[in-house]
Symmetry: C2
Amino acid sequence: MEDLAPAAAYGHKLPAAMQAFGIVTPCRRGQQIYAREDPVDSWYHVISGLARKSTVFSDGRRRIVDFLVPGDFFGFSARRERDFDVEAVTDGTVVAAFPRRRLEALADTDRDVARLLRDLACETISRLQGRILILGRVTAMKKVGAFLVEMARRSHDATVVDIMLTMSRYDIADYLGLSVETVSRAMTVLQHRRCIELRGNHLIKILRLEELD
Amino acid sequence: MEDLAPAAAYGHKLPAAMQAFGIVTPCRRGQQIYAREDPVDSWYHVISGLARKSTVFSDGRRRIVDFLVPGDFFGFSARRERDFDVEAVTDGTVVAAFPRRRLEALADTDRDVARLLRDLACETISRLQGRILILGRVTAMKKVGAFLVEMARRSHDATVVDIMLTMSRYDIADYLGLSVETVSRAMTVLQHRRCIELRGNHLIKILRLEELD
DNA sequence: CGTAGTCTTGAGTATCCTCAACGAGGGTGG
DNA sequence: CCACCCTCGTTGAGGATACTCAAGACTACG
């Protein structure tokens, strides 16, 4: 029952001149899309599924910098090498790659494309700033609550109450800077307070959104 | 690990066509540059001093999303309203404001400006991602250490060892998501370990950079 | 020189992490 | 089809870390 709707919803927003040379690639769970130190030679668009941008600290801890959902762009960088790894979280994650040179050449001649790229970069900035606010929350409960609200907002379903959390609890922990156990405990507390309802481990229904924030 | 600070890369070579209509404004300590809910009608460039981008949570806690040093651009947004406040931290902070419409019109006709704006947005993305990694650090010591390293890198002095931390400990605490007391304690511990040397409250000399990370 | 804001230090407490064990689900091979 | 394994998720106990509250020292500035 993987959501296919968002792909259709966002695909058509791209200018035809851009879509023409997007290289669509389906990925398996865990498959790497790019790695640290790779050359920055493409920009990417998530068509379906979920991807995670992460890095590993010297002490072995992994930090997830960003989750990428359908409609998100990623891979923006003014540098020559990647700072992070990006992997598909689920089977059936589909991304389109846009060769950087061609895309920038297109932006040079097509002002709509240039504007789109600017807007997409600005969207990324907004997302990361929101992310920083989540990390700035004090308690684990607040962090997990804010995370759920963020994911509800970003899931492109019309209903904001049902969230499909395809990522694992470990991913969530590495995203929020908490231990898996703390994430798990926060979830059960939220459930007992009847703020959320868990149906299986990954389908979550939000009952009282205002309490989460 | 990262490329040079944006200050070095862009600070002194804005295209003449852009500089022509930048509105230069000196600010006093604490003076607001823009506020939440303000219309997004300008982009900004820090010329000197220091600014902070922040928001206040419903529980009254302030979170600083970004410090802005000379050379940084800010105010990028694809939205209509601001999500954050930006204030000058020190007297003598000077920023240049670029009216959004004029700047975007210029970008439409001047591909160098268009590229510059893209690159600047990408720089902001890199900075925010680095920021997320700092917040993801586990202990307060690591956070403060990583903060000092970040500020050393971004200060546009050639010497990377002497940092002028013009912001208060409160600002640092709100930036790192710690209490002021914890920041203060971390500083004294780092000093006792002879990783840093404090001369006055705001001038810091880094003795052993590698230990901070 | 006084005052307000800033910085540091201390004591006690709450929160979260670590370590450990166990249960549930999915995939694989016999 | 079932047994097994492996990953994932949950729960518990104990300990470390950072927060809160409180007080005192220092600084900048009028």
